[in-house]
Structure formats: structure tokens, C-alpha cells
């Protein structure tokens, strides 16, 4: 009967959709490992400690990129996490304040920002006055990208703490500041840590914000007010080069990036459901 056939086709469609949704992910993960790990094997540990080789020459590494990424992640975390946490605390503790309501909307808008525009913005206000690309500019761009994630996770984490714990704190005569930081945040630690991890994982992989802020270098002095490389940036530029060894290095960098990302993201994600 036509009716049974339609039902059967529906089931086929549902299963096919699931396959179409899952297979690309596994293919991408697989390809990165499949193409990248042999590169690491071929270049050895020097891959992480050497600098970029000339075109079509053997050996080399991505150290400047790793250094740049780590510096900028660290810097943006130092800037961004306190900023986001305090903003999140404000919204959670004073939810009816018009500032909070507006801020929630603003944060939601910021979550959806095209990140290239964040980079353009920081370029206009930092790079142009400074006259040069820099790690600082890159870190500032990453801070803006990280901000909405960490702020909203912090807010949700605080709101999820049952009220009577906070009330107990006040009843003991503690000031609001103490209550929030000694009691509430400690209880919300899991949600809060998740937000941190996910925010940091996200910025570790961002490319677009860095294009016009960090600028990219193949060799760096490490100074913060000079252009910096980053692993995603290197991949972006290397794949556009015509040289086979640069493509190789790009795959190697990709597998390094993926590993770093999974190492930060997975614990955060698995904490959510446990």
C-alpha cells in the first residue's frame, strides 16, 4: 500500500539524514589525522621546535606559530576571562536591571558576529594607530570573540545555583561580594569551568580575527608589539601556497591544532553531562 511505502521511505530518509550528518565529521577528523600524522612522523619532534623551511626544502617546523598561538591565547584569557566573568556575574545577580537585560541582547548579538569583522574593528582601533600588526592586537580580537561565550556560561552557571545557598550566605552576614565568589561560583564551578574551557577552545582555533590584527609572521622575535603567527593563520596561508612541502606542513599543523582543540574541548563537553 502507498501508505506503508511512504512510511518506509520516511524511515530511509531519517537514517540517510543521520548518515549525512555524521559522516562528514568523521571524514574530516579522519583526513586530518590521516594526512597529518605521517607528516609529524616524517619531520619528527623538530616539527614543534623549528621554523618554517624554504619552499621545497626538507625539514622545518611550526614553532613560531605555536608560540604565537600560546601567547595570544594566554593574553586574551588574562584580559577576557575576568571581564567576561564580572559581566556574567552582574547579569546573573541583577537580572532585572535594564543594563542586564540589554547586555543579554548585546551578548547574543556578539555571539553571532562574523569574526572577520571583529578583526577589522581591532585593526581600526589598535593596528592603525600602532602602525603595525601585533600579538597584542591579535589577543584583543580574541578577547572580544571569547567574551560572549564565557559571560553567558558564567551567567547560566550562577543562576543554576539554588537560591537557598546564597540566602544562607547572606544570613551569615557575608557581603554580596563574598557570597558570589566564595559560595556561588564555587558551587557553579562545573558550569563555569565548562564555559572557560569552551571559550578558550573556541579562540584557539579562530583564524579570521587574526588576519588583520596579528598579521602573521614566519619568524618572530616574540615581542608582543610585533606581528605574530598562529597555528590557524599558518594553515590558512600555507594551503594557498603552491609548494608541496608547505601543504604537508599545513596538514601537520592541522593535526596539532585539532589535538589541542580536542584536548581542551572534550573535557569541557564531557563535564556538562556527567
Amino acid at each position: 500500500m502507498l501508505r506503508i511505502l511512504k512510511d518506509y521511505l520516511f524511515v530511509v530518509f531519517v537514517i540517510a539524514s543521520a548518515a549525512a550528518a555524521i559522516i562528514p565529521l568523521f571524514h574530516i577528523l579522519f583526513s586530518v589525522f590521516y594526512n597529518g600524522i605521517p607528516v609529524l612522523a616524517k619531520y619528527g619532534m623538530e616539527f614543534l621546535t623549528d621554523t618554517l623551511p624554504p619552499p621545497n626544502k626538507a625539514g622545518g617546523g611550526i614553532f613560531p606559530a605555536i608560540y604565537g598561538s600560546l601567547t595570544m591565547i594566554l593574553l586574551s584569557s588574562l584580559l577576557g576571562i575576568p571581564l567576561a566573568v564580572f559581566a556574567g556575574v552582574f547579569i546573573a545577580e541583577y537580572p532585572n536591571n535594564p543594563l542586564s537585560r540589554a547586555a543579554r541582547v548585546v551578548l547574543m548579538i556578539m555571539l553571532e558576529f562574523p569574526t572577520i569583522l571583529v578583526g577589522l574593528f581591532v585593526m581600526a582601533i589598535v593596528v592603525i594607530p600602532m602602525g603595525t600588526f601585533s600579538a597584542i592586537a591579535g589577543a584583543m580580537a580574541l578577547t572580544i570573540v571569547m567574551l560572549p561565550y564565557v559571560a553567558t556560561y558564567t551567567e547560566q552557571a550562577i543562576r543554576s545555583v539554588p537560591r537557598h545557598y546564597k540566602e544562607a550566605g547572606y544570613a551569615l552576614g557575608l557581603k554580596k561580594f563574598r557570597v558570589v565568589f566564595s559560595i556561588t561560583l564555587k558551587m557553579a564551578k562545573k558550569g563555569f569551568m565548562t564555559g572557560l574551557l569552551i571559550g578558550v577552545a573556541k579562540v584557539s582555533g579562530e583564524t579570521a580575527p587574526l588576519i588583520f590584527t596579528a598579521g602573521n609572521v614566519w619568524r618572530s622575535t616574540g615581542a608582543l608589539n610585533e606581528p605574530a603567527g598562529a597555528i590557524p593563520l599558518w594553515i590558512y596561508y600555507l594551503v594557498q601556497q603552491p609548494y608541496a612541502n608547505y601543504h604537508e606542513i599545513a596538514w601537520g599543523a592541522a593535526v596539532v591544532l585539532l589535538t589541542i582543540f580536542l584536548a581542551i574541548f572534550l573535557p569541557g563537553r564531557l563535564m556538562v553531562r556527567s
Binding site: A87, F113, K202, V239, L257
Partner: protein, 299 residues
């Protein structure tokens, strides 16, 4: 007002400050090109860079077209797949295994987009170029397939890549809405002797606003994506209905052209105005999507 609040207010103000400053920066930097060309910057497809400022002329219509076209392709692919996938996870998968399907999509949602890019440029583009060749050779009379492009860098490749990238987001929205449908409606539908397909039709009708919102928000995400798209779209000033033609999106235009923009007088301003347009499109689509989501209740 207690001291704690006073202490915190500067931080919350920074949040507003950033948004306001961003808008201001984009607006101010776009003024030169608006003064020079008016709205022609958005309505023409032209890109003449020159050392002599009088000869410069810019029009980003091709980029606007490309942004809308590739995001449309992405959404058309994502919509049925995310619905099917959501039904699969909620109705077909036993409780203990559901997480096993949800975690991979969450990974995809957060993964560095450059990884999609490298996969796209080295693996997806060649694969799709084979399909493109076949379709071109057989049915090039259909405008959709009428462009000969051996490189694989095209609207289609960008659209497919975008689809893969926004799918996790769309399907998590739809999946949660589908999961949250009160059990009584499922029971009622099955008690009427309906097949799984017929029951699904009713339940999907129930969450139609969520599906609409997910579509809009996915479109908004696709519009803003930069690095992955710029690696596979071919970066050409085209306005072409064919899926296989190369083109530009606003974000890839900015990424590509800004490197040498400062050599010219008006190019930076043109690119800022492109950013403004991108911001506006993204904002409108996202706000409409969020509004649809917010106002969805049944009595």
C-alpha cells in the same frame, strides 16, 4: 546602590562599549566611499583599483550575491538533513546511545573552521569538481550547471562546506525543540493509528516556529563564515547563476583584498562598507530568527 554593583558596572559597560564602538568604527570608515559613490557601492559589480584616486571605482554586488547564494545553498541542504537527523536521535536511538550522536555534532560546532577549510580545499573541491564535470557534460543547458570550472572552487563547494559547518547548530536547535514536545501529543498521534511518517508530520507542524528560527539562524551563521569559504569559493568577481561558477562572498572579499588595500585611497573604505553590509545582513537575520523563537507559544 551597593559597592559590589558599582564595582561591576564598568565591566558590563565595556560590553556595550565594544558593540557601540564597533558600529561607529564601521560607519565612520565607510563614509569616504559613501560620499564618493553613494549606494552604488552595493549595487554595482566593479572593482577598479588604481594608484590615481580619481580612477578608483568599487562595487561589491558580486560579493553580496555570493554571500546570499552560498548561504542559501547551505540552508537548503541543512534544512531536511537537520530535521531527519533530529528525528533519528530523538525517536530512533535508544536513550543510552543518544549522547553518542550528540557529542560529535557538538565537536563539529566548535571545531576550528580552518580545519573545514583545509579539508575543503584539498578534498571536497576535487571531489565536487568531478561531479561538476559530469553534470556540465550532460546537462549544461540548465543554467544551474552551465559553467565550466575544472578547479572545483565554486558556489556549490562553498555552499556544501557551509552546510556541513552550520548543520550541528541547526540540528541541535531542532532536536531540542522536537525532544521537548509534550509526550501527550505523541501519544495522541499514535493512538489514532497513524504511521511514523504521519505522526512526524504532526509533531514537526508543532515545532514549525523552531524550524523556521533554526533556518534563519543557520543562514545568519553561514553569512558570517570567512576562512573556510574563502579557500573554496574561487574569489572571482562573478554574478553567475551556475552552481559551479567561482565567486566572492563579502567575508572572503574582505579577507582577500584587505592585504593590499592601504595602497589605495578608497579601497579600505570600500571594504569597511562591505563589513557594514555584512553586519547588517547578519544582524537582521539573527534578530528575526531570535524573535520567532521567543514568540512561539500555543495559548
Amino acid at each position: 546602590m551597593d559597592k559590589f554593583k558599582i564595582f561591576l558596572i564598568p565591566f558590563i559597560s565595556v560590553v556595550f562599549g565594544i558593540l557601540v564602538l564597533m558600529l561607529a568604527v564601521f560607519a565612520i570608515n565607510s563614509i569616504p566611499i559613501f560620499q564618493r559613490e553613494g549606494l552604488a557601492i552595493y549595487t554595482e559589480n566593479v572593482w577598479i583599483a588604481s594608484e590615481t584616486p580619481e580612477e578608483e571605482r568599487y562595487g561589491i554586488l558580486a560579493a553580496i550575491y555570493g554571500t546570499l547564494y552560498t548561504s542559501l545553498i547551505a540552508v537548503l541542504i541543512v534544512l531536511p538533513i537537520s530535521i531527519g537527523f533530529s528525528i533519528f536521535v530523538v525517536d530512533f536511538v535508544p536513550e543510552r546511545l543518544k549522547e553518542a550522536f550528540i557529542i560529535p555534532t557538538d565537536i563539529m560546532a566548535g571545531m576550528p573552521t580552518i580545519l573545514f577549510g583545509i579539508w575543503g580545499i584539498f578534498l571536497l573541491a576535487p571531489f565536487l569538481s568531478g561531479i561538476a564535470d559530469f553534470l556540465y557534460n550532460t546537462c549544461s543547458f540548465i543554467p544551474l550547471f552551465s559553467y565550466y570550472n575544472p578547479t572545483g572552487f565554486s558556489y556549490l563547494t562553498a555552499g556544501v562546506l557551509l552546510a556541513i559547518m552550520v548543520l550541528p547548530f541547526a540540528s541541535s536547535l531542532i532536536r531540542e525543540a522536537y525532544r521537548a514536545i509534550p509526550v501527550v501529543y505523541r501519544e495522541a498521534a499514535y493512538s489514532l493509528g497513524l504511521t511514523r511518517f504521519e505522526v512526524a508530520k504532526i509533531l514537526l507542524g508543532y515545532i514549525k516556529p523552531a524550524i523556521l528560527a533554526a533556518t534563519l539562524l543557520a543562514f545568519g551563521r553561514a553569512v558570517g563564515e570567512t576562512v573556510a569559504v574563502s579557500l573554496v569559493i574561487g574569489n572571482a568577481f562573478n554574478i553567475n547563476p551556475s552552481l559551479f561558477a567561482p565567486g566572492y562572498t563579502i567575508s572572503s572579499l574582505i579577507a582577500n583584498q584587505f592585504g593590499n588595500a592601504f595602497v589605495y585611497e578608497y579601497m579600505p573604505s570600500a571594504l569597511f562598507s562591505a563589513g557594514l553590509a555584512l553586519f547588517a545582513i547578519g544582524l537582521v537575520v539573527n534578530i528575526v530568527g531570535l524573535l520567532v523563537l521567543r514568540r512561539w507559544t500555543y495559548a
